[in-house]
């Protein structure tokens, strides 16, 4: 393990270009330290980025919220701006890990760690979030829906850094998204299944966590519901859901349970939007 603490963002991006593969970015550290403990990190280069001011802060720019990559979960859930413009995000992050971790775990860390159970990702997916990725030579926007490509696989290039997450306010403000995280207990829990849901103009954005190799949108369900917003039937809905998710059985839960609770909440969310 070799440690780098670049003085500026520019220097960080240069390091990302220069250093060979096997490098890790350290901001909050809540995931990296677990990996170190499990001997899963040995000879990586570690670049510390938490001190870079460009990666911090929450801003409202016209029609979108811009959240710095290294903003912590508790900064987001306590932020006045977020509470005002996107209370859904603030409220949903309430169950993130524990109060002792939310204070230093970062938003982009949760995204980039690429865990299938990442708590923030289903929320951001229904909010249509985009990532701002920067390298020494380019800055590009990538919709979060396109970020993951497989288990622990992303489209982030070797020389790129997530510098911010942007949330357009059209979903966050105008509609009422819903979210459920199902774990074995209330606090300190890793999701067995998570579902985020929003209905707008008879269209739907629905995303699930812990049900695939990475958190993802449920496109088949969305498509089916957009054709049958008021006359969906349970069987077809379930079949659509089965196309979208590949739940597994592991120590924490069973695939049958994961599918069923996801379906139960999908029905519940649908009913609540139809009745309101």
């Amino acid at each position: 393990m070799k440690m780098y603490k670049p003085a500026t963002l520019q220097e960080t991006l240069s390091l990302l270009t220069e250093l060979p593969a096997k490098k890790l970015l350290l901001a909050g550290g809540s995931d990296i330290n677990i990996l170190i403990k499990q001997d899963k990190i040995t000879d990586e280069n570690i670049i510390y980025i938490n001190h870079l001011p460009e990666l911090h802060g929450i801003d409202m720019c016209c029609t979108k919220l811009v959240i710095g990559a290294a903003t912590t979960i508790s900064e987001i859930s306590h932020s006045g701006v977020i509470r005002q413009y996107c209370p859904f995000l603030a409220d949903s992050l309430h169950d993130f890990a524990s109060p002792l971790i939310a204070g230093f775990a970062t938003l982009a860390g949760n995204i980039a760690n690429s865990s299938p159970t990442a708590d923030t990702v289903p929320l951001l997916l229904v909010l249509d979030a985009r990532l701002v990725l920067k390298s020494l030579t380019t800055t590009r926007m990538l919709p979060l829906t396109e970020f993951y490509t497989g288990y622990k696989q992303t489209r982030l290039q070797d020389d790129e850094l997530i510098i911010a997450v942007e949330i357009p306010l059209q979903y966050a403000c105008r509609y009422k998204p819903q979210y459920i995280k199902i774990g074995s207990r209330t606090a300190l829990t890793i999701a067995k299944a998570a579902l985020a849901f929003v209905k707008y103009d008879n269209k739907f954005r629905i995303a699930a966590g812990s049900l695939n190799e990475y958190p993802r949108r449920l496109y088949s369900v969305e498509e089916y519901l957009s054709l049958h917003p008021d006359d969906y039937n349970d069987n077809d809905l379930l079949n659509a859901l089965k196309k979208d998710i590949t739940p597994i059985t592991d120590f924490r839960s069973d695939k049958e349970y994961r599918l069923q609770v996801c379906f139960n909440y999908l029905q519940k969310f649908l009913k609540s939007t139809n009745s309101s």
Binding site: G28, N33, S74, P99, L100
Partner: protein, 162 residues
């Protein structure tokens, strides 16, 4: 790497592997033994300290993250008047059993009372939900925090009278 930070109100610096856990640095380099290792993965809160004013599990913090910041441990908190008030409340309700998790509870409670000294049981439960205790069933800990809230309110009331 040279790391400079404020520890229990005093400035300090040390030359160390920047990836060392804050927990180990506090125990080994500063002999601050109130900081306990229990689960080692951020799931129990026995190693809780205040980092830049926020309660964090020091087993998941690398010392590089502390550079330029401030750390307060249970040792530091027990010297403050609020810390003493909390300790007295924990003692009064018999909140403590084996005590291994307790310095962590002291730190988290201190932060809670500093920012939002509300007697509401659910708020307290939520604030303490990252600290695991296997002995007490939490009931008397929650009662102690409520007691401390009331004592604090009384004190402020008295100040206003003066």
């Amino acid at each position: 790497m040279i790391i400079k930070f404020s520890l229990n109100g005093k400035n300090t610096s040390l030359d160390t592997d920047p990836m060392k856990r804050l927990l180990d640095i506090l125990r080994e380099n500063y002999n601050l033994l109130s900081v306990k290792e229990s689960c080692g993965e951020g799931e129990c809160g026995a190693c809780t300290v205040l980092l830049n004013g926020l309660p964090v599990t020091s087993c998941l913090i690398n010392i590089i993250q502390v550079d330029g910041g401030s750390v307060i441990t249970a040792e530091g908190i027990s010297e403050t008047s609020l810390g003493k008030l909390i300790a007295a409340s924990f003692t009064e309700t018999n909140a403590v059993q084996c005590g291994f998790c307790f310095p962590g509870f002291l730190v988290t409670t201190y932060h809670y009372l500093q920012h939002d000294p509300d007697c509401d049981e659910n708020k307290i439960k939520n604030a303490l939900s990252g600290n695991i205790c296997r002995c007490t069933g939490y009931q008397k800990i929650i009662e102690a925090v409520q007691l401390a809230c009331r004592k604090l309110a009384d004190q402020e009331h008295k100040h206003e009278d003066v």
